[in-house]
Amino acid sequence: MSDLLQTPLHDLHVSLGAKMVPFAGYSMPVQYGLGVMSEHLHTRAKAGLFDVSHMGQVKVTGDTAALALEALIPVDIAGLAEGRQRYGFFTNDAGGIMDDLMLANRGDHIFVVVNAACKDADIAHMLAKLGPSVQVTPVTDRALLALQGPSAEAVLADLNPAVAEMNFMDVATLQLNGAECWVSRSGYTGEDGYEISVPDQDAEALAKTLLSHAEVEAIGLGARDSLRLEGGLCLYGHDIDAATTPVQAALTWAIQKVRRAGGDRAAGFPGADIILREIASGASRKRVGLRPEGRAPMREGVPLYAQAQGGEQIGSITSGGFGPTVEGPVAMGYVTADLSKPDTTVFGELRGKRLPLTVTKMPFTPANFKR
């Protein structure tokens, strides 16, 4: 335990009564006194503050940074306007996803935010592949906070009214509580909100100022997981991984036309032949939303079948649990393409019994983004 890393908010978490657990090499708050269920519901009703400082923040600099990144990521980065952010992923030669990430055009650099568990590998990958004219600079002196929920705009606008002018996926450099913050209007809950990169030394004061609002509660990783699951958002290492292509993962929307067959900058990323072929002719399996018909949650690893008895396994659940807003169990997983249409019934084997689930469009709860 002693070699776990701590975020700049560690002492604050402990003072708030958080239950700390090891996560991706960090000691992180899994829940506070409210508990996972109440924290989840509070975020959907008002606003939740999350410490996501364990995630990797990286600046990619150089005149050709955007085009160089396009050689690793099947996304339109060169066409990303200044002050805008988009979702993407590193792919491997087999078309699998090495990590998913956020990319922002911050004028003189592309700002990349990657998963905590993958950040060392991602940085090494960029250093090895982006070439000498592009600089890869890990940002190691900034915390990352997320303020999520319908009250997020009003709360953050108290510190700087400019945040209210931002639209979903806008990014801006703004003074918040006396600190220079890199703010994006985005998140991982399916709610409106902001992600805020703040200098380490200013992080605790900013967090305390936000928490002083009656509308804001500290929210742990437990509720972060149930919120993103209801939001239909993938968790790397579970719903997507190096053996899963973006097409299988139902993330084709993230690959803009300019990178697809016939586009001006088509292909030119690892695994392009496989990914573009799957876009054209379909993948053999697909990530889908699943609603267990009973009350029992079905979690990661539950095998899926086409029939209530017999037959081969047709997939498995990759994330599942209880959705506090849905007020019932929700899951996502992979099924064969022929069973991926909404309203198809499949069966999950739980404690020796096959129980029905319905293939369901995601998100499970309506997204509340400010478009």
């Binding site: 508990g35 996972v36 269920m37 109440s38 149930s226 009350r295 949650p297 979690r299 506090p324």
Partner: protein, 119 residues
């Protein structure tokens, strides 16, 4: 009332024993979202997996603390699993068992011993 090391409580009610889990257990488990109860009439042996509970975090099995026949289950939990969080030693009970050997109760802790176990 008696307590097991698995954080179950047992309360004698006439010739039956009512079984649930302790408040300490519910705090450790977090919000309980699903309870699967045994069928009335089932005969169980000590340590049989008898109840499945799912919290927001994970699934757990509740073992039969003694041999006997399940004579009543708390059906209210099926629609309202959070009763166990709200009133672990009252309305949150799981099942009533007719013991085949009441002396098995003697193996378990009294309240003072249980309190010292959970510190």
């Amino acid at each position: 009332m008696k307590f097991t090391e698995e954080h179950e409580w047992l309360r004698v009610e006439d010739d039956l024993v009512v079984v649930g889990i302790t408040e300490y257990a519910t705090t450790q488990l977090g919000d309980i979202v699903f309870v699967e109860l045994p069928e009335v009439g089932t005969t169980v042996s000590k340590d049989d997996e008898t109840v499945v509970i799912e919290s927001v975090k994970a699934a757990s099995d509740i073992l039969a603390p003694i041999d006997g026949e399940i004579v009543e289950v708390n059906d209210a939990l099926t629609d309202n699993p959070s009763l166990t969080n709200e009133d672990a030693i009252g309305d949150g009970w799981f099942f009533k068992i007719k013991p085949s050997d009441a002396s098995q109760m003697d193996d378990y802790m009294d309240e003072a011993a249980y309190k010292s176990l959970i510190g």
